[in-house]
């Protein structure tokens, strides 16, 4: 039967590998292109990259695993504040700060996952909103550690690898963010296709069938939440390291809701869709708010309605459909 497995399965792996390679090359090409085309916007691009980690992390729990949440900034904020607090208390190595932020995100992921996964559907949404609101208020009240509504500012970050200074133009931060996003995106694609990722996709589609195979839905999703928290926390820490400021907005309901909008915009369940959605949405928002400071929200709203009506599977789905037509 080995021949069977060879004839049927290898094309699938090749196809997946090719998609990952194309995706990674596209990220790299867009990143390098942006670096040269928009040298004055590198800080903004770095924020896009850090937010894209939040959106990819949200994709793991919502797009892949089908858990409804409007409070995912909880893990992002945990990462940002962990890195920020560590930095003002003397930790200045950027990679160590990223690690601390990721671990804080992982912890926040486990805590929020343990609570949110007890609910279903609307109750999950309510729990997630309550969690992020509580976290936001907690951070606000604990001003002796977090800086409260003023946030944490003046973070001191050492040069990357002791060589590359975090300069005013944001070049080092941008390359660091691009490298992190590239590695994370490829790893998450591998994760989604792995047996564990496949089980999570199965839970999204029919959890009764998954249980009938003997798998624990709760534990599987909790693990996914932990991984998602790690990635989201990494995003938060990356923003703290890049901007050297941590504010209350990093752990807000608004950030959570925007992340969900970006995910839907890009297409759920494919990781690369989350990345594309973040980039296009934030860039569009940035451009129209500069061009039309009083009416930009109307334009953003119209764009969202158009996407939902004409590309319900988001940018990723739209691109996939175009390629299919081409193949036909």
């Amino acid at each position: 039967m080995t021949a069977l497995s060879q004839t049927r399965a290898i094309p699938a792996t090749t196809r997946h590998g090719l998609r990952d390679l194309i995706g990674a090359c596209a990220i790299l090409a867009v990143g390098v292109g942006c670096f040269f085309l928009f040298p004055n916007n590198l800080s903004f691009l770095t924020i896009i990259l850090s937010i894209s980690l939040l959106v990819m992390s949200l994709d793991l729990v919502t797009g892949v695993s089908g858990v409804a949440t409007l409070g995912h900034a909880f893990v992002y904020g945990a990462g940002a504040y962990a890195a920020g607090i560590a930095s003002v208390n003397g930790v200045s190595d950027p990679l160590l700060l990223l690690l601390l932020g990721s671990l804080a995100g992982l912890l926040a992921g486990v805590v929020s996952g343990a609570l949110i996964l007890k609910g279903h559907g609307l109750s999950q949404l309510v729990i997630s909103i309550a969690l992020v609101q509580l976290a936001s208020e907690g951070v606000n009240k604990a001003s002796f550690v977090t800086g409260g509504s003023d946030g944490l500012a003046g973070l001191t970050i050492d040069p990357l690898f002791g060589i590359f200074e975090f300069d005013l133009w944001g070049r080092t931060a941008f390359w660091l963010a691009l490298a992190v996003v590239l590695v994370v995106a490829v790893l998450l694609r591998i994760l989604v296709r792995s047996p564990f990722g496949m089980m999570c996709r199965g839970i999204h589609q029919d959890r009764v069938r998954v249980r009938a195979m003997g798998a624990s839905v709760y534990l599987t999703l909790l693990k996914m939440y932990a991984i998602s928290g790690f990635v989201g926390g990494l995003g938060g820490a990356l923003q703290a390291v890049a901007t050297q400021v941590v504010g209350l907005d990093s752990v807000s309901f608004t950030t959570s809701a925007e992340a969900l909008v970006m995910l839907i915009f890009g297409g759920t369940g494919h990781i690369f869709g989350a990345l594309a959605g973040t980039f296009v949405f934030m860039w569009f928002e940035h451009s129209v708010s500069a061009a039309s400071p009083f009416h930009w929200l109307i334009l953003v709203g119209i764009l969202l309605i158009l996407v939902v009506l004409f590309a319900p599977k988001g940018i990723y789905g739209l691109v996939g459909r175009l390629f299919q037509h081409k193949e036909v």
Partner: protein, 248 residues
């Protein structure tokens, strides 16, 4: 000890309604038992109780001598109690072979793997393809489940149940929705089940029941009203009454 599944005085009430009424039955190694009864007799409820989807009001369920009455459904699966569903429960966006690979990896405790896709596990692929070939589903291996016919989805359910290597198999209307042209595949699949496997089959197709079962249990209003061979079934007045009414 040959008894694999032993159910004693099982009762289940939904509010004031008795849906399972003092049911006792046991399945020995290699048994082929059919569970039949009119619509609403409580057949699927009984399967749900045995599988662990519902908790009984009273009574006990033992699996290979171990009391599993309070055990979670997933733990029962790990002990070898596998079920199929009356209404197909599959993952519409996954391929046919994805389903088999998931079941195999779960059975082997490898479903938590995070790096290697099953496409790079030849032993998993081979087993999955063999299981599909047995039901002549192998040409559909890479098709998404939403794109295959309902009858083929029913066969896939059987294939999933089999790769989980059950000791006791609960089949809830496996032939429902399968066109007559594909029935021979279901019959062949049932004929070729491992000899030592204990099977409890629910079906309304009496030809299939007669062909498959060595013992038939008839449920009516949640209670067992008949237990015997398929040959004794037609002449039993209680069965005739349950199916055709008191005047029959």
């Amino acid at each position: 000890m040959d008894t694999l599944l032993d159910i004693r005085n099982l009762k289940m009430n939904f509010g004031g309604l008795k849906v399972t009424d003092d049911v006792s039955l046991n399945l020995a190694k290699g048994s082929r038992t059919a569970l039949i009864g009119p619509n609403g007799a409580g057949k699927t409820t009984l399967i749900n109780l045995i599988a662990g989807a519902y908790r009984p009001t009273s009574g006990s369920i033992s699996l290979m001598g171990q009391d599993v009455t309070g055990m979670k459904d997933t733990d029962r699966v790990r002990l070898g109690l596998i079920r199929s569903f009356q209404i197909t429960r599959l993952f519409p966006d996954l391929t046919v072979i994805d389903h088999l690979a998931m079941a195999i990896l779960q059975r082997e405790g490898r479903s938590a793997g995070m790096f290697k896709s099953y496409h790079r596990m030849p032993e998993v692929l081979d087993e999955a393809m063999e299981a599909l070939a047995r039901l002549r589903l192998d040409p559909l291996a890479n098709r998404v489940v939403a794109q295959i016919a309902y009858g083929q989805q029913r066969l896939l359910e059987i294939a999933i149940a089999l790769v989980l290597k059950p000791k006791v198999l609960l089949l809830d209307e496996p032939a429902a929705g399968i066109p007559s042209s594909d029935m021979d595949r279901v019959v062949a699949a049932l004929d070729n089940l491992p000899a030592e496997l204990a099977v409890l089959l629910i079906d309304h197709d009496m030809d299939l029941v007669r062909r498959f079962a060595r013992e038939v249990i008839v449920l009516s209003s949640g209670a067992v009203i008949f237990r015997g061979t398929p040959e004794q079934l037609g002449s039993d007045p209680r069965v005739r009454s349950a199916y055709l009414g008191e005047d029959a």
